[in-house]
């Protein structure tokens, strides 16, 4: 693509439009990706970094076409490998803001290994996993997040793969920032992406994304406007897990797990769990990640946000330390600084 003609403005003056590329967006009409793209572009402007310092890296799949539509540096790579490639970009250039765009098939199936290691290393990447519980670009096969019994072209008798919970996975591998949002909930999505963008370390965001062609309404039970208040709970650090249209329901501890309760009578706000995204113990985030309908509401928001040194900062600190203690590398020194002997004519 040719670079866009508009001059880069000062980062403070950038708007969503500055992040719109000259390429025609080619997703199916009604695809959830459009809404996500719009919020991504908005948040890039809100984060107020120079446009040239953003890099978008993706794998393969519908979601992975997103970099073409964002007017920053972009690299549309290969199946599942985006986290590894992004690790190279971010480690070599810690000054860049590196975003990984992936889907449930790309990120959790063929790329599960790379996703695991990028997260556990805490490379400062913003990883957006568009979850639609289906393979879209390869035309409708079940994915690692599809429910058991899912009937697709490759599973006419129903899927016999137990599904993977993306957020439980992220907790298990030690991700320092874990969040979930919904494509159609634009304000919440923008807020979540901004939190991820400001996090120092690997930020993993699962976005419920609707595939109108192959898996329409996959998240309807949680995301449909009519049921959303009763079927989701917003996670806000320091606030109780209260939900429901009337704000009359809550989540409290029961044994080693959670239960949903109605407020009133003996049960008051004091009994309700207060969200602690900064809890260093992953057990709590794990329980949150496993909350499922119908017993419990689906949590959205920031599950976990803790601080740990990033991979690239530790690597560059080692390099700085080596330069300080040994001096800037001198080629002559490493070539000759060993047992040598001279031959004279």
């Amino acid at each position: 693509m040719a670079p866009e003609s508009n001059d880069p403005a000062s980062p403070a003056a950038l708007t969503r439009k500055d992040f719109v590329s000259d390429q025609e967006v080619r997703w199916c009409p009604g695809c959830g990706d459009y809404a996500i793209l719009a919020q991504v572009q908005k948040v890039l402007a809100d984060l107020k970094l120079p446009r040239e310092n953003y890099v978008f890296i993706s794998g393969i799949g519908c979601s992975s076409r997103l970099p073409y539509y964002v007017n920053t540096y972009g690299f549309h790579t290969i199946h599942g490998r985006a986290p590894a490639i992004a690790t190279g970009v971010k480690t070599y250039r810690p000054d860049l803001s590196v975003w990984v765009v992936t889907g449930d098939g790309d990120g959790l199936s063929i790329g599960g290994n790379h996703l695991m290691h990028a997260l556990r290393r805490n490379v400062d990447l913003k990883i957006l996993l568009f979850n639609n519980k289906i393979y879209g670009l390869t035309k409708g096969q079940y994915s690692p997040t599809s429910e058991l019994g899912k009937k697709t072209k490759s599973t006419p008798a129903g899927s016999i793969d137990y599904p993977l919970h993306p957020l439980s996975f992220a907790v298990a591998v030690g991700a320092t920032f874990i969040a979930r949002s919904i494509d159609s909930d634009t304000n919440h999505l923008a807020w979540t992406l901004e939190q991820a963008g400001r996090h120092k370390g690997s930020a993993f965001v699962e976005i419920f994304q609707n595939c109108v062609i192959f898996n329409d309404d996959a998240f309807k039970d949680a995301t449909d406007r009519s049921v959303r208040p009763d079927h989701t709970v917003l996670l806000e650090h320091g606030k109780p897990l209260i939900f429901g249209k009337e704000k009359n329901k809550g989540v409290r501890m029961k044994g080693f797990g959670f239960e949903a309760v109605d407020l009133g009578g003996n049960i008051t706000e004091k009994d309700i769990l207060v969200h602690d995204a900064k809890n260093p113990d992953p057990s709590y985030a794990f329980l949150l990640a496993n909350m499922e309908l119908p017993e419990l509401p689906v949590p959205v928001g920031v599950f976990r946000s803790i601080e740990k040194p990033t991979y690239e900062s530790m690597l560059h600190a080692q390099i700085a330390k080596a330069k300080q203690s040994q001096g800037e590398g001198d080629l002559r020194k490493i070539l000759f600084d060993t047992e040598t002997w001279s031959v004279t004519a």
Partner: protein, 628 residues
């Protein structure tokens, strides 16, 4: 009593013992001292893939061979003059290689009933006449070493571990080498364990003095200095030279080196060596797998770095998807493949050169990449620099084919002065008015390397076919045809920058031997010997496998017979036949071992006498099918 010293020109010694006996260390120490004394030398470490196979067993034998000389030599030697065997298994597996009349030094103590049984000996070979054609020295090394160390605080077991230094000391005396280089190494190495350092020093000296005083050796030997080109030398292995070459490339390009790798034998030492040079800004990442390693390196290249990934054959197979992405996105990337025996896991610690066709063709679709191959351990330095020069000049992945023999083998290296190395020119565009992601340089056809962080040059690349010049995603049939041809032509144009081939021998004649990679030393020595015998034989050696040098075609046409020795079943000869329509004959070996000089001489002579044979040795299965 001072014993007689006899001057000899060259010697091949092989140290062989159990993999726990420290044979590699012993060999390397002997090599270091030999280096400092100014002999020319070449080494061949040969060790099992198992870290510790059962002690005393045949698969557990580890060996290290060194050829050292007052003359210019190119190989570790075909057959040892001296075999040091630390146990019966080492004797059994190595004796067949020892020259008739050669010197055999054995640790008599190790020839116990148990060890003999483990090695499959029914009778003790030291007691019968089976070794009568050799000059045998039965020395109770374990006992002598234990006696020498009885005053030290080390336990019996710890003391026994020093016996390799006892043997080394003995060999130092026998070949008139001083032990001070090794003693200073010992004190450096065991600075935190002074008891161990002292014991090793004692063992070394005791071995040396045993040679001097015991009444078993009548004389010892001296090998004068070799007449090498003037300059400052060091001992270097191929893997060390490769790593240092990459550090040099980074200096010459004025850019940090970025290595992402996954450990694999025999390539891991490059990762180890580069990890030590953080003060050069070298970033080394040990990734989760080969795929991630290639990916991270390509990511760094996209971000403007010198992306490097190192591996061996099985790892190259996994990296092919990423190499293809680098081909499509036209980004520089250097992929080191230290070839080993294959296919699959194959022979992890043994050498082979059978990844040539994988390098050239092992990817989906039309996917041309540059391929280079160093010929000697020390040449790994210059070819590593060369790999990056090609990668950044032509915006292409470059596969660098080393092999297990080059990687672990060592030789003296005339160290270059860094100021004599040419800089690597790199341009990153900044002008937003003229920038087009897939615009091409007129001469090289390379596209501009615009890097993230450059204002106004924001653009997107990826694995989907791109329209030439604009870089927009394009499914246009004519554009794909054009892009495939452009990518091929870009690689072909690298040949414009290559030096002319140098012919070893006459420029025309009866036989031309064509080689590539680590077989250089054996081929050149064989051709030299054939020339001395009066045969019209010349050789050329290819350091650039893709593209092939422009003058190769014409050179091939000047000889009646083309012979291609390779440690594979005829991969280069297949290429030469296809590309130049010449009747190239294959001389093949696939034993996990380098060619011996004698094998190449015999093979070339075979082709000189029987021109209808195209491959030597012939396939054993077809040979059986022929009537007797």
């Amino acid at each position: 009593m001072t014993k007689e010293i006899q001057e000899v020109k060259d010697v091949v010694i092989r140290f062989a013992g159990d993999s726990g006996d420290g044979m590699q260390l012993t060999g390397m120490q002997f090599t270091n001292t030999t280096a400092v004394l100014g002999n020319d030398f070449s080494t061949l470490p040969d060790y099992p893939a198992e870290i510790r196979a059962p002690a005393g067993s045949l698969p557990g034998v580890s060996a290290y061979q060194i050829n050292f000389s007052s003359r210019d030599i190119r190989t570790p030697g075909d057959a040892p003059d001296v075999l040091v065997a630390m146990n019966p298994a080492a004797l059994k597996t190595n004796l067949k290689d020892l020259k008739d009349g050669g010197m055999l030094i054995v640790n008599e103590d190790a020839f116990s009933e148990t060890n003999l049984k483990k090695a499959g000996y029914a009778e003790n070979p030291l007691g019968d006449r089976s070794l009568s054609k050799y000059e045998v020295y039965k020395i109770p090394i374990t006992t002598l070493n234990a006696n020498a160390l009885k005053e030290t605080p080390l336990s019996k077991k710890e003391a026994e571990r020093c016996k390799n230094f006892y043997a080394l000391g003995l060999m130092f005396w026998l070949y008139d080498r001083p032990y001070d280089v090794t003693i200073s190494w010992i004190h450096d190495k065991f600075s935190k364990k002074p008891d161990v350092a002292q014991a090793n020093e004692l063992a070394l000296k005791a071995g040396f003095h045993y040679g001097e005083t015991a009444e078993i050796f009548r004389k010892h030997f001296r090998i004068p200095k070799a007449k090498l080109k003037p300059g400052v030398y060091r001992n270097i292995t191929g893997n060390e030279a490769t790593a240092l070459g990459f550090v040099a490339a980074s200096k010459l390009a004025g850019k940090p080196l970025f290595l992402a790798s996954y450990p694999i034998t025999p390539a891991s030492d490059i990762l180890h060596e580069l990890s030590r040079h953080k003060n050069f800004g070298v970033q080394t990442l040990q990734m989760e797998d080969e795929i991630a390693a290639a990916g991270a390196a390509l990511g760094a290249s996209f971000a403007g770095g010198l992306g490097l990934t190192t591996t061996s054959g099985p790892g190259l197979a996994l990296k092919s998807e990423t190499i293809n992405l680098a081909v499509m996105t036209e980004l520089p990337l250097v992929i080191v493949d230290v070839q080993r025996g294959g296919p699959s896991t194959g022979l992890p610690t043994k050498t082979e050169q059978a990844d040539l066709l994988q390098s050239l063709f092992g990817r989906n679709s039309e996917s041309p990449v540059a391929v280079v191959a160093p010929a000697t351990p020390s040449e790994c330095f210059t070819m590593a620099i060369e790999a990056f020069r090609i990668a950044v000049t032509y915006m292409t992945p470059v596969i660098y084919l080393s092999d297990g023999y080059l990687a672990n083998g060592s030789e003296p290296w005339l160290i270059p002065e860094p100021e004599n190395l040419s800089p690597i020119a790199i341009k990153h565009p900044t002008d937003r008015t003229t920038f087009r992601p897939y615009a091409r340089d007129e001469r090289t056809l390379s596209r501009p390397w615009a890097i993230p962080g450059t204002p106004g040059l924001e653009h997107r690349i990826g694995g989907i076919e791109k329209a030439n010049v604009t870089g927009n995603v394009s499914y246009d049939p004519a554009n794909h045809d054009l892009m495939c041809r452009l990518r091929a032509e870009k690689i072909a144009r690298i040949a414009d920058d290559l030096p002319p081939l140098s012919i070893f021998g006459k420029p025309s004649g009866e036989v031309l031997v064509v080689g590539w990679g680590g077989t250089y030393g054996a081929i050149t020595s064989a051709v030299e010997d054939l020339q001395k015998e009066g045969h019209e034989v010349s050789s050329v050696h290819l350091r650039y496998l893709n593209p092939l040098p422009k003058d190769l075609k014409e050179i091939l046409s000047r000889f009646e017979t083309i012979v291609v020795p390779e440690l594979n079943l005829g991969q280069l000869s297949l290429l030469l036949r296809a590309k130049y329509l010449v009747d190239a004959h294959s001389l093949n070996k696939l034993q996990g071992q380098p060619f011996k000089v004698g094998e190449i001489i015999a093979g070339v002579k075979r082709f000189m006498t029987t021109k209808e044979v195209r491959q030597w040795p012939p396939n054993p299965t077809t040979r059986q099918a022929q009537p007797r």
